[in-house]
């Protein structure tokens, strides 16, 4: 008979991402049917209550260990697994198990360690204080946090620009600095391309394509998704261009952004003309080339032959026309990948409803459900408040995949999988059963399997293994592309009833 074990560990702490991994490790232990190890925040307690656990009083300063076991004999081994997983998390965090008293403020950490770059990852409402500590210490700062007010961003970047310092972010998820990947970064070879990116997953798509073409990267400086807006005026992009121009390893610069303010794009182009390093702009927008096309143009600049972009699996067959609805349903973890897909699909199919719509009247309500073509960015601020990003925790997207598959109007599902450091250890393992179930949901009703197309964005040296991930997705029945634009065009063709 199933037994439940809940214990509160007052004062114990580990960050949410570490605890997510601890929970997974423990859940895989023999005799454990469910395991959640989490800080006892209101939200987490609610989750645990939803799972049926009976909880004693606890505060957010406490850690709660909740286990459901096949029988009592499994408890001792499960608790050993909890302690081992927590110890592993601590060891990973402390760097080889060395015990040291952590600095309590950014300012004191910088006094102690020095260094040229501080990475700030705290709730957005508190990011300014930490970022200013870094700037006051003469450091560049990468702000991983989102939900930082725009007015703060502008002022902070203004001060940094006056001091010759670089603010990367806010909401900067990806960077490669000095050969080190920061945030959600892919493993790339050193090379002669420098990237300025106002787009995290857009940068990752470029890194993946360049890697497939055998081209390395000297640096990728994220500047935050709003940097090329009219309000911010490209303040960090200017500094990043200066830095890359001064770097002797950089021979070509690529600037990537979601749709920018036209005057900012023009000002940056004018500024770039004065630099000694050639600069190419890959700026998404209606009628503009997609990121893959921009990379192909860059390869041409470099004198490198454009390869055939990798695909895996046989082209998925189109559902029989007319038997089911013709709606394209895109479920993304990368905002820029979602943007790019919407721009391509809107041109071919018409209006796309979304939580990050191309125009306000196409906004989805909170159900995220709608008739017609729909694309959802599960990494958007509104869906990550109080929970981990879908590149770490895929639960929300998986739930929605099942809903979309059950909708007879869905003609094709388009997904992205983003690999690299910081992302899930094995995203295909979580997604593949969902894809299989989605396809089966359609065959169970007597129809052909639901076509699923995946853009798998990663490099050959990424820890998850690009080929292994792609093959696992193919085994589940998906058609997989390295290029998000190619995957999107394939999904468009399937939705439109055409063949390619």
């Amino acid at each position: 008979m199933s037994v439940e074990h809940v214990e509160i560990r007052p004062g114990a702490y580990a960050d949410s991402v570490a605890l997510l991994q601890v929970s997974r490790d423990v859940a895989a232990a023999p005799g454990v049917t469910a395991a959640q190890v989490a800080m006892a925040t209101d939200l987490n307690l609610e989750v645990l209550a939803t799972m049926g656990f009976t909880l004693p009083p606890a505060s957010p300063n406490d850690m709660v260990v909740a286990l459901r076991l096949t029988d009592e004999t499994a408890l001792a081994a499960a608790l050993t697994a909890v302690d081992a997983a927590l110890a592993a998390a601590r060891k990973g965090a402390a760097g080889g198990g060395q015990v040291s008293v952590p600095a309590r403020t950014t300012a004191s950490a910088l006094r102690r360690a020095g260094g040229g770059l501080a990475l700030v990852s705290v709730p957005g409402a508190s990011a300014l204080v930490e970022a200013m500590d870094a700037l006051d210490a003469g450091c560049d700062v990468m702000i991983f946090s989102d939900n930082v007010p725009l007015e703060q961003e502008v002022a902070m970047k203004g001060i940094a620009r006056e001091r010759g310092l670089l603010v990367m972010g806010p909401d900067c998820g990806t960077a490669v600095v000095g050969g080190v990947g920061l945030g959600f970064a892919n493993t790339v070879a050193p090379g002669k391309v420098g990237i300025v990116a106002a787009s995290g997953t857009g940068c990752q798509q470029v890194l993946a394509l360049l890697d497939a073409a055998g081209v390395g990267v000297a640096a990728a400086l994220g500047v935050g998704g709003r940097d090329l807006s009219a309000a911010v005026g490209g303040l960090s992009s200017l500094t990043a261009l200066d830095r890359l121009d001064a770097d002797p390893a950089v021979e070509h610069i690529l600037v990537i952004s979601k749709p920018p303010a036209s005057e900012v794009a023009a000002a940056l182009a004018s500024y770039a003309d004065g630099l000694s390093t050639p600069v190419r702009f890959a700026l998404l927008g209606a009628g503009q080339p997609d990121l893959t096309a921009q990379v192909e143009a860059l390869l041409s600049d470099l004198g490198v032959a454009v390869p055939t972009w990798p695909t895996w699996g046989e082209p998925v067959p189109q559902a029989s026309p007319g038997a089911e609805g013709g709606a394209l349903r895109g479920l993304f973890v990368g905002g820029t990948l979602c943007d790019e897909a919407m721009l391509l699909a809107a041109e071919a199919l018409g209006p796309i409803r979304s939580n990050i719509p191309l125009s306000p009247e196409l906004a989805l309500d909170t159900s995220l459900l709608s008739s017609g073509h729909v694309m959802i960015d599960f990494g958007d601020d509104g869906l990550t408040r109080g929970r981990a990003h879908p590149m770490i925790d895929p639960t929300l997207r998986l739930e929605h995949l099942a809903r979309v598959a059950a909708d007879p109007e869905t003609a094709v599902v388009l997904l992205d999988v983003v690999l690299g450091h910081g992302a899930e250890d094995d995203p295909a393992a979580g997604l593949a059963p969902g894809i299989t179930a989605a396809r089966a949901a359609r065959t169970d009703r007597g129809g052909p399997p639901l076509p699923v197309v995946v853009a798998c964005v990663g490099t050959s040296a990424d820890p998850q293994g690009l080929t292994r991930q792609a093959e696992a997705l193919v085994a589940a029945g998906a058609e997989v592309h390295l290029s998000n634009a190619a995957a999107t065009r394939r999904a468009i063709a399937l939705a439109a009833g055409g063949t390619r």
């Binding site: 960050d15 949410s16 991402v17 997510l20 929970s23 959640q36 190890v37 925040t41 209101d42 939200l43 989750v47 939803t50 957010p60 709730p123 957005g124 409402a125 508190s126 300014l128 204080v129 200013m132 006051d136 991983f144 946090s145 989102d146 939900n147 007010p149 007015e151 703060q152 502008v154 902070m156 203004g158 001060i159 909401d171 900067c172 998820g173 990806t174 945030g183 787009s199 995290g200 857009g202 990752q204 990368g334 905002g335 820029t336 939580n355 306000p360 989805l364 995220l368 958007d380 601020d381 509104g382 869906l383 990550t384 408040r385 109080g386 929970r387 981990a388 990003h389 770490i392 639960t395």
Partner: protein, 277 residues
């Protein structure tokens, strides 16, 4: 002299050179008016409203009301001081995503007799109809409370400011009440109007910000309430009452495009994580 201020003050100093005059001068705070904008300078240990530049000075020099104040090259020159903003400090109330829980957390502290007495002192100065209107988010509340009561900032304005900052934390917008404040702000003192308009934009005192943070996290709520009550003679209590009214009945105003989600069966991050785009 290098000072610390909110990003909104940093922006105001950079909207161009300007001539103004001293509006209020004391050893702890000095305010100057530039057209319809107010910028202040605060001593080290003073309360720092969001329009002020904090300085390391233990006391400020005294100037006469009407003395000149100028902004040149983003530096404020007043009372013999030349103050620039070299350090940014947050002044926006952090997001309050779970108002019912925040209301429960605040209610527990508001039952304490010393807090009850302070809030009763504020209520006694203000018309009950105005407070009821504010609780329901009706714009009539603005004319019913604006400019009424004691204090350098009238306590009716403090109540409005507390309501506005709290509602902004909940909804990122202040709806019809905020709009009415914009229309009628000229009916109260210049300084108070400036602070109210800042509250419409979601800016608030550090002590009020700390209260919202405490209500959002459930940590140190009694300490945050005590710290707010210590602000001014009635200002802190007025703002606390405003927060109480905003949380009693969170007003419905148009919400920016965002999506709330149901809790699902996964361990969720206790702190908001960023989203790569």
């Amino acid at each position: 002299m290098a000072g610390a201020a909110s990003s909104s003050v940093w922006h105001r100093l950079r909207t161009g050179d300007a001539n103004g005059s001293v509006l209020h001068s004391g050893t702890q705070a000095l305010y100057a008016v530039f057209g319809d904008q107010v910028i202040g300078v605060a001593a080290r240990d003073a309360v720092h409203p969001p329009v002020t530049i904090g300085t390391p000075l233990p006391q400020l020099p005294i100037a006469a009301v009407g003395d000149p104040a100028v902004i040149v090259d983003a530096v404020l020159h007043v009372a013999g001081l030349a103050v620039s903003v070299e350090r940014l400090v947050p002044s926006e109330a952090p997001p309050l995503v779970d108002p019912p829980t925040a209301a429960v957390r605040l209610a527990a502290v508001l039952r304490e007799p010393r807090v009850v007495a302070r809030l009763d002192g504020v209520r006694a100065q203000l018309p009950a109809a105005g407070l009821r209107s504010l609780m329901s988010g009706h714009p009539n509340a603005v004319l019913g409370l604006l400019g009424l009561g004691d204090g350098l900032t009238p306590v009716g304005d403090d109540v409005l400011a507390g309501w506005l900052a709290t509602t902004s934390a909940i909804r990122q917008a202040t709806g019809a009440v905020g709009e009415a404040v914009r229309v009628h702000a000229h009916r109260t003192s210049t300084l108070s109007a400036a602070l109210l308009l800042d509250a419409v934009a979601g800016h608030c005192l550090p002590q009020f910000r700390a209260l919202v943070m405490a209500l959002a996290t459930g940590r140190a709520v009694p300490e945050a309430v005590a710290s707010l009550l210590a602000v001014g003679h009635t200002s802190g209590a007025g703002m606390l009452l405003g927060a109480r009214l905003a949380l009693a009945f969170p007003v419905t105003v148009p919400v920016p495009v965002s999506v709330s989600v149901s809790v699902s069966v996964s361990v969720s991050a206790p702190e908001p994580l960023r989203s790569p785009r």
